[in-house]
Symmetry: none
Subunit: 426 residues, 2 copies
Amino acid sequence: MRAIILSIGDELTLGQAVDTNSAWLSAQLASVGCAVAAHVTVPDDQPAIEQAMEEAVGRCDVLIVTGGMGPTEDDLTRQALASVLREPLEPNETWLAELEKFFQARGRPMPSANRIQAMIPRGATMIFNTCGTAAGIDASYISGDQKTVCRVFVMPGVPKEMRAMFTRDVMPHVKQMGGGAVILSRTLHTFGLGESAVAEKLGPQMMRGRNPSVGTTISGGAVSVRINASFPSMSEASDRLRETESACRAALGDLVYGTDEETLPEVVAKLLLEKKFVVTTAESCTGGLLAKYLTDVSGSSAYFKTGFITYANEAKTELLGVDPGHIKGHGAVSGAVAREMAVGALRRAGADVALAITGIAGPTGGTPEKPVGMVCIARATARPQGPEAQARTFNFPGDREMIRDRSAKMALTMLRYRLMGKDLPF
Amino acid sequence: MRAIILSIGDELTLGQAVDTNSAWLSAQLASVGCAVAAHVTVPDDQPAIEQAMEEAVGRCDVLIVTGGMGPTEDDLTRQALASVLREPLEPNETWLAELEKFFQARGRPMPSANRIQAMIPRGATMIFNTCGTAAGIDASYISGDQKTVCRVFVMPGVPKEMRAMFTRDVMPHVKQMGGGAVILSRTLHTFGLGESAVAEKLGPQMMRGRNPSVGTTISGGAVSVRINASFPSMSEASDRLRETESACRAALGDLVYGTDEETLPEVVAKLLLEKKFVVTTAESCTGGLLAKYLTDVSGSSAYFKTGFITYANEAKTELLGVDPGHIKGHGAVSGAVAREMAVGALRRAGADVALAITGIAGPTGGTPEKPVGMVCIARATARPQGPEAQARTFNFPGDREMIRDRSAKMALTMLRYRLMGKDLPF
């Protein structure tokens, strides 16, 4: 079964609001095996709405329309639908009575403008709105030659009203119509390798046309692997998803830091809590971003107590005890200074593990030997015989913001591997 | 001039990601008088992409396409465009050289998969990508009978890459194509008051149907006032924009911290540099975010040297000298503790001014007396007779992320007023 989602509203095509309804509806439809062929958005313009509806009904089995159902003159979805169905709009007495009651309960007469919200094309069914004044519409489009048949559901654009209406009175019909495939999805998140390197590891899993399908997306430097399984039954979809997920996990190993909604700070937090480790930070170019990530998680006070931001060289020396001679000799951006920062922070904070970052975030300050994007990250661990520290040097692409962000996430990744007792795999 | 925006990606039609690009692009296009006729979204499916492109080019003057430009096999936008243009894909040598350099700088050979990101349909122009590996495409569709002509811009779907590319290399062409009315815009940014309070101050300026039009938008807690002047000539648009801008500035006073692209950290940085002040930070609930904002600006080492993250009570005492008795007596979230944190940081860092934040970011940890969202922010200034400190208590709405973000921005705002020698106006 194929669906098209049509969103209507000037605020959408003017960019004054982001359309979240289409994504929500798509996820709902996918969960019952209904493939979404397209999202279409048009302004509050009756000819444009009619054209979009006419094209959509010929291309899908179910058309879901949201928006343009308000009581004002710029709301034209009902009129457009009636015109496409070639039926007149008629008042729905049940909903008119509901509207009267609604306004009575608020001690006000019903404004005449609201009457339009009870108008339904002849032959269509009214859908109850449990949290607003606009009734929805359940209609069937049948072309003159009877060759094209499409079920059309029209709902208000207010997300809260739309979601309640869809769940209560549209989803059951979609399920009944479907009998189609069940789609299950899983997303695996990685950090550290580029999109093509991740794809190389996945190899044949990513071949086009496979089911379950495997694709990669990149967001904030993290490469995520999305697996979609589309099968006639839930058990088959679930089994095949599990198989492909296992194959992807085997190919990627511990590059995968999280699944679905999990974030890198959450995963690191969980590992810190498991090990009962307290972490501290010493940041130069990231200026507090690493500590911010570590404290994104509620309850972070269990593993994070103190952080140092030593942006200036003197601060590195005064706060963390970095040898000024080393800063002069190796430069502030060097593995040696990063290690001293980490060890100094570890000692000062009395922590179990410390992360230090020093680098050139740009756009100025780069040299041929130490270009913008060069960042040294160190990790120090408390040991009975004294702190042990390791440093790595990276060259991150992008602008200041990206370089700072990748640096902080790479430090989290180095901590994650340390907590797993492993070396970085790249 | 009419535009259509086409977004490509399985993650969109499966509802795994919300399409924010279309709204952003629509707002950009609207700002130069280009009407957006539709948004269309299709999955990573070459026939579907081709069909959507073929339909769109006949209905608009400019087609903006985003997504499906990655290096993996599920990215098919280039191939679809080439097919619609009936031209072969050819490697762009300039971008290939850039890609080679990019990977060389990272000490890795370029994976062969990335070559596709330099492929451009014959006759089209490559668009530089300043923050990623996918080159964009600037092409012209001309139908066989020469009746249909449409300019097509194709960009990656990663919002950051897309926005940089659009601003730098697409917007100038769109403006040039326009030719109609001259639209000039100005945006004034405020922080501290809500949207309706700002609107109240603006009064009649915001009346519907006025030209220049005045509207408010809210983003990241900042309320921005957008003025659009649409007139036949540049001089008229410019004069009328200036008039309305003056009226808005008169109504808002020093609530306006910046104009157009200016950010709050940039404005504060400029004031700090002017005064030759060094600032330090002492953060509890924001965990480094305030320092991160202060170091967002390139060259921040001139005014930011040291920052303290004292998430735990012991850290407040050890690092900043906060009296443990005061923490016990007033609570860690109190004006008294915030002031002591600021004074301690000021002294330890030898700075001219210090900001301290302590609060309850939630979702847990609130009490009836000190609910989630309660945040105390202090500002301390070095004086010959010793440090002077003031604290304010705020109740911020929203979730953990919002509360932390508003807290850091409010601290910057308190610093901004201090640097202007004024009191907070709210």
